[in-house]
């Protein structure tokens, strides 16, 4: 079974984010890392291919520059190859434009299953899996907490407000996975060495047959009109625990009439 995993390379979320003063979008120059949320999809894909007794995991990623360090992490985990859509024209693309590009790349890979995260850690729009599925005309099951594939169908436990639903869909399908669906493996030394020689196929937007005006700033059809600091929440009282801090908490809860 061949699985495509949509993998995003993002600025390190531990570093404070910054907006480009001109474009008012997130600065994403410099080294990018594999979005943690995507490690679950990579691991799930590897396990499903393994269980099916054959097939491989292909990564599909999009970036305005040709950054690959995040993809190497996923290749080191065991993905076979990557398709990187790298094009300056992509700068400013919104989720719909991203979905158009990824959909075109997915069509090339002809997978049985596409896995995504539920949302990226930096942009977190959370609508891309559904947009992607609609563009491909495929079924989609979002927020998976468990996946099994058998008889040409994906059987998924989908997170709901109340618990979870058991949902099935015929393949090919798009499934978005929640964190915790599987435990991502750490790349082994051997994996890291092997990843250096795995193919990363760089393509341009035009190579995929996606219209240039569908992506980037123009394709987004939205305009950032204001950026301002939010009202700061003020830090209050700080106490060092010397064995009696719980008493201060009790007192505070009493003041609030919670107890």
């Amino acid at each position: 079974m061949n699985v495509v995993v949509c993998a995003k390379q993002i600025p390190d979320p531990a570093a404070p984010g910054e907006l480009d003063p001109t474009t008012k979008t997130l600065k994403r120059e410099g080294k990018l890392i594999l979005d943690d949320s995507d490690a679950y999809g990579v691991e799930m894909g590897l396990q499903l291919a393994d269980k099916a007794g054959g097939g491989e995991v292909t990564l599909i990623s999009m970036a305005p520059n040709n950054e690959v360090s995040g993809l190497r992490t996923a290749l080191a985990m065991g993905a076979a190859k990557a398709i990187l859509v790298s094009d300056p024209a992509l700068q400013g693309s919104d989720s719909l434009a991203t979905a158009k590009v990824l959909a075109a790349a997915i069509k090339r890979a002809e997978p049985d299953l596409v896995l995504t995260a539920t949302e990226s850690t930096d942009g977190y729009t959370g609508v891309l899996p559904a947009q992607l599925a609609e563009l491909l005309g495929w079924p989609s099951i979002t927020f998976a907490k468990h996946i099994e594939v058998a008889d040409g169908k994906a059987k998924v436990q989908r997170q709901t407000e109340e618990g979870y639903d058991e949902v099935e869909a015929p393949l090919p399908a798009i499934v978005s996975v929640t964190a915790g669906v599987v435990e991502p493996r750490y790349p082994s030394f051997k994996g890291i060495m092997a990843a250096k020689n795995k193919p990363v196929d760089e393509v341009k937007v035009a190579d995929l047959g996606v219209a240039g005006d569908a992506v980037g700033w123009g394709g987004a059809r939205q305009e950032i009109v204001d950026v301002s600091p939010a009202e700061e929440r003020k830090a209050g009282e700080i106490v060092e625990d010397e064995g009696d801090a719980h008493e201060r908490i009790v007192q505070f809860l009493e003041q609030l009439k919670v107890i």
Partner: protein, 322 residues
């Protein structure tokens, strides 16, 4: 002229309308013009009265059968819109089903979707959605350019829900067009997880645990403390990712937004991801051994100490009172 017609994607479980839907209807009324709801389900009659009370004149009802809502409801919406029944603005909750329907509709109509909104305003034909980024320390306003209908999704708890005193919404059943392969999802079974105590996003008190707890077993004390305070237990993304507690417990950007009267963060450092989900709490108590942890910058009462010492003593003190 402001917005003339707004549609709200209505969600309900077992005949009870979701609070996000009531919040969106209240906001839609404020924008002016006609407010209508669009519901995916076979039991629209059961929700029509509540939807009307909060401002919906009509509720369009598309029955997805046993499929997930995304493909059939988006197709039914698109069929109405293409048939000329066209709203200027569609409001969705940033929820499981809200994202599925809005995402598919966005692709179907080839219109952008603005997500994670916390506010919306209309000035003439210009519709602007506000977002909070970087853990809520920066506000960004984005306007739709190009033609509508405009699709926007909002984080739960962004608006207060207030009744408008309207009559029951008129139920208008609409067809679900053939969605081909896309609609071939089948819900085989629904599992409702039993909860004792209040729901995480409705609780007056939320007690959340993070990586500082050290191990999954220590989460017991979070549950115990939450129970003593008649609150709900929550969690940081770190311990959900680690598999200590289910995803449903997660408070944060990914996960639930909570605005309780009291939020207690135990062993949570306060990553941006987490702050987004709890900064709106009226009162915040943080317990963490690292005095430089970002969580202290938003805490009304910050205790620099070891959760393994402070929390058991707190539990003991509360037990002694009851």
């Amino acid at each position: 002229m402001a917005v003339s017609t707004t549609w709200v994607f209505a969600e309900a479980a077992e005949g009870k309308v979701a609070s996000i839907t009531l919040e969106l209807l209240t906001k839609a009324r404020e924008l002016g013009g006609t407010v209508e709801a669009f519901y995916g389900g076979g039991d629209a009659e059961a929700v029509a009265e509540t939807l009307g009370k909060y401002g919906a004149a009509k509720v369009y009802a598309a029955d997805p059968g046993d499929s997930l809502l995304g493909a059939p409801v988006a197709a039914a919406m698109a069929a109405q819109i293409e048939g000329g029944n066209k709203p200027d603005l569609l409001l969705f909750g940033q929820t499981y089903d809200g994202r599925d329907v809005a995402g598919r509709l966005s692709a179907k109509l080839d219109k952008p979707a603005l997500t994670n909104g916390i506010d919306v305003s209309a000035d003439g034909d210009k519709v602007t959605v506000e977002n909070a980024i970087f853990g809520g320390n920066t506000l960004v306003k984005t306007s739709f350019a190009g033609d509508g209908p405009f699709i926007a999704l909002f984080r739960p708890k962004s608006f207060a829900a207030e009744e408008g005193g309207g009559a029951s919404a008129e139920v208008v059943k609409v067809d679900v067009p053939d969605t081909g392969l896309a609609g071939q999802t089948k819900v085989l079974d629904r599992h409702v997880e039993e909860h004792t105590g209040p729901k995480l996003d409705e609780a007056e008190v939320v007690v959340s645990g993070g990586r500082g707890l050290g191990s999954a077993e220590k989460y017991d004390m979070i549950e115990q403390l939450a129970k003593l305070l008649k609150g709900a237990p929550g969690a940081s993304r770190a311990i959900v990712d680690a598999g200590w507690v289910p995803y449903a417990y997660q408070v944060g950007q990914t996960g639930k937004v909570v605005k309780p009267n009291v939020y207690i963060a135990a062993g949570i450092s306060g990553a941006t991801q987490h702050l987004v989900g709890m900064k709106g709490a009226k009162n915040i108590i943080a317990i963490n051994k690292d005095k430089d942890a970002p969580i202290f910058s938003v805490a009304d009462l910050g205790v620099v100490g070891d959760v393994h010492k402070v929390v058991p003593k707190l539990i003991e003190a509360l037990q002694a009172r009851s």
